[in-house]
């Protein structure tokens, strides 16, 4: 027989575990005292699960109520009043509802390989409605009124985009799904495709019906074999049931979807480059205008939307635009999925309404910074975005707010950095990425990116000069203004935001030749602290380049000219006698 109540006890870190155990035993004692042992189970949750609260807290199931700041009195009253007598306790709201799943509504719920599971949750009902009960104008109007904006990064209104393609006259139009998720640290689209492939297919068919296209392409990273497999299966299943392919549900409307692979080019996330790649060419961007909505794949009007945008569509159709637009902030409607990674306790995917403060995502949902380190910054928008420092953590996330503080929404990568991360180093990482991924077609991006990287290498290598910063700004501006596509235009964003919010770190590197975070190897110095050293000689033995000299009598010394800063000596020293700085 199941229990009537379950009390899940959580804590925010290992250090509170003792208190958590204390709490559990206290609860159990009280429960036993009320003779409720067969009625209530008290369990401890997984140790990384937390909601950023100090000290342990509980969640009562099935009531789904959270209670924080527990005192012995509170526990006693919960057991005596609520568990024994059924009087509702004074709980706070449900923390889980900070998340709201539209895009991920089926992920982790349905079997993505069974179309029945999808249909059970009203899958393909939106398509049915669009085909039979709505005119294309009504569909586009509904999307427009919903306020849905492109989730690929720039946030262009989806309904408007569709209307351009609808109004373009052509014998052939296309719908393209951009599944070339390439932002390092972002994997929302992969999860959506793996967990709910039909929602994207359904949305593409809806788009086809609305704009007058009969062919769709999904351009997906070849590095996502599972997503490809599940999409292929989904297309097959939907076609077999007459939900895709020719004459859908006997309506006369046909829509066929083909899958095309990318091949490792981030720039192909840019619409025009993506289309070039779909055409089997080198994926280099083209100047816009003309926009793909009017002149796209093989010169034909083409709707290009990303996976997450599409995944919203069936819900918008079924639940209506006013329902959708009631979620989110004033100018950004609906939800946004973020892949929160980096130095948070709980890396993972979160979907929150637009307008949720960054702090809620990082500290509540994702559990805050791991290992009790200090939050330094969060990067959104990947290599095109910027770092956001602590002072903006309460900024409600939406397209416009993020742009205003020097970053951008991007596709949804959210990389959290702590005190061990060096801004120059992180900038270098992103620049290296942008340089690797530049298509090389236009000079500002191709050469400018390489030059910026050179400066960053110089600065992290201890050779930086203050005037380099001015030159970087100048190059950054030229790239922003004269690059052909968004990749080049945004390459300097991480640097610009770091210079704005973490100028002192640049100054440290350039003027004081110091990397406080200890990341920039050339600026690092390993020094033996004689007071702590017990002269055991382990450091000398493990040093791979024999940079440590001395003996057990006189002590040991690191030759800085030989040291390769591998850190092995420090790692192996049991007495914490080697300082890294």
């Amino acid at each position: 027989m199941p229990y009537n109540h379950y009390i899940l006890v959580s804590g925010d870190s290992e250090s509170s575990l003792n208190r958590r155990n204390e709490l559990i035993s206290f609860f159990e004692k009280e429960i036993a005292g009320q003779n409720l042992t067969d009625d209530v189970q008290v369990v401890s949750t997984i140790d990384t699960s937390a909601c950023g609260m100090e000290g342990p807290f509980i969640k009562i199931l099935p009531e789904n109520i959270y209670i924080h700041n527990l005192t012995p009195e509170k526990v006693r009253s919960i057991v005596q009043e609520h568990l024994a007598k059924g009087i509702p306790p004074e709980g706070t709201g449900t923390e889980a509802d900070k998340q709201f799943r539209i895009v991920l509504r089926n992920c982790g719920v349905i079997d993505p390989e069974r179309i029945e599971d999808y249909i059970l949750r009203d899958g393909y009902s939106a398509l049915e409605k669009v085909i039979f009960d709505m005119t294309p104008e009504q569909v586009i109007d509904e999307i427009r009124k919903s306020g849905l904006r492109g989730r690929g990064g720039a946030g262009f209104p989806t309904g408007l985009k569709w209307s351009f393609t609808k109004e373009a006259s052509s014998d052939q139009k296309y719908v393209v799904c951009n599944a070339d998720e390439g932002d390092p640290g972002a994997y929302m689209d992969r999860s959506t495709l793996e967990g709910d492939p039909h929602s994207v297919l359904e949305a593409m068919a809806i788009a086809g019906c609305a704009v007058g296209a009969d062919t769709g392409y999904i351009y997906i990273r070849a590095e996502y074999p599972l997503a490809i497999k599940r999409l292929e299966l989904a297309i097959k299943q939907a076609t077999e049931l007459g939900l895709l392919g020719d004459n859908i549900l006997g309506s006369g409307f046909s829509f066929n979807i083909e899958i095309r692979y990318g091949a490792g080019a981030f720039v192909c996330g840019e619409e025009t480059a993506l289309l070039a790649s779909l055409e089997g060419e080198r994926g280099t961007p083209k100047p816009r205008p003309p926009f793909p909505a009017v002149k796209g794949l093989w010169g034909k009007p083409t709707v290009v939307n990303n996976v997450e945008t599409f995944a919203n569509i069936p819900v918008v159709i079924l639940k209506g635009s006013s329902w959708f637009s009631s979620i989110g902030s004033e100018k950004s409607k609906g939800t946004k999925v973020f892949a929160v990674t980096g130095k948070v306790k709980n890396s993972g995917l979160v979907e929150v309404p637009m307008g949720t403060p960054l702090r809620d995502i990082i500290f509540s949902i994702s559990g805050g910074i791991r290992d009790n380190k200090k939050f330094k910054a969060v990067q959104t928008g990947g290599p095109s975005g910027g770092v956001i420092p602590e002072q903006f953590l309460d900024t409600p996330i939406d397209y416009d707010n993020l742009t205003a503080i020097g970053s951008m929404m991007g596709s949804g990568g959210m990389i959290v950095m702590d005190e061990d991360d060096c801004m120059v180093d992180v900038n270098k990482f992103y620049l290296q990425f942008s340089v690797d991924e530049s298509c090389g077609k236009c000079a500002p991006c191709r050469i400018g990116g390489r030059e910026l990287l050179t400066y960053l290498e110089k600065i992290s290598g201890g050779q930086g000069e203050l005037e380099d910063i001015e030159k970087m700004k100048r190059i950054g501006k030229a790239m922003q203004k004269a690059s052909l596509c968004a990749l080049g235009q945004t390459t300097s964003n991480p640097i610009q935001s770091a210079l704005k919010y973490f100028y002192n770190e640049y100054e440290d590197h350039i003027v004081h030749k110091k990397c406080t975070a200890g990341k920039c190897v050339s600026l690092l110095k390993f020094i033996i602290i004689t007071d702590k050293c017990v002269k055991c000689g382990v450091c000398k033995r493990v040093c791979p380049v024999s940079a440590i000299s001395g003996d057990r009598d006189s002590g040991f010394l690191i030759d800085q000219s030989k040291c390769i800063k591998c850190g092995l000596c420090r790692e192996k020293c049991k007495f914490e006698a080697i300082n890294k700085g």
Partner: protein, 160 residues
């Protein structure tokens, strides 16, 4: 038009079927190159030449595409290609150290093949397992939350 192709390579029936299936679809080149690479682990020049004949396209076009996309290889990789994720999460959690240690252990650099032909190292873009950072794959097998000290042992398993 007549092509002069050195017939030193015979494409497998699988590839030929794939080519036949895709031949008339516009924009097919990348899909076909994927198939060739799937079979050889890279795209041999002879195979590329053969494709120019089958698809009636210039070799310069094939190479333009091959060299644009980093996924395509022109050289044979090791038997167990090692891919180390250099996505942001993996980078922050020490992806670079993993590469350095692998280079150390195998005595080769990134994009090189070990002398015994068993391993090659590659730094790849985010493979979408950020929760498991730092991540690497060896011959398709994924290793998450990799620690520098584990590497020698992991490699040894493949050497057997």
């Amino acid at each position: 038009m007549k092509e002069h192709i050195d017939q030193t390579i015979k494409l497998s029936p699988e590839i030929l079927n794939h080519v036949r299936e895709w031949k008339d679809k516009p924009g097919n080149l990348i899909m076909i190159l994927h198939k060739v690479q799937e079979e050889y682990g890279y795209v041999p020049r002879e195979a590329a030449l053969k494709l120019t004949e089958l698809l009636d396209i210039p070799l310069a076009k094939v190479y333009g595409v091959l060299t644009f996309y980093h996924l395509f290889k022109l050289k044979k990789p090791g038997k167990y290609p090692i891919q180390v994720c250099m996505g942001t999460a993996c980078y922050l959690k020490g992806g670079e150290d993993i590469i350095r240690e692998l280079e150390n252990l195998l005595g080769i650099g990134v994009n090189q093949i070990s002398e015994d032909g068993l391993f090659s190292i590659e730094a790849v873009r985010c493979i979408g397992c950020c929760g498991l950072a730092p991540v690497m794959t060896i011959g398709g097998e994924v290793f998450g939350k990799v620690k520098r000290e584990q590497l020698a042992e992991i490699l040894a398993r493949f050497k057997e």
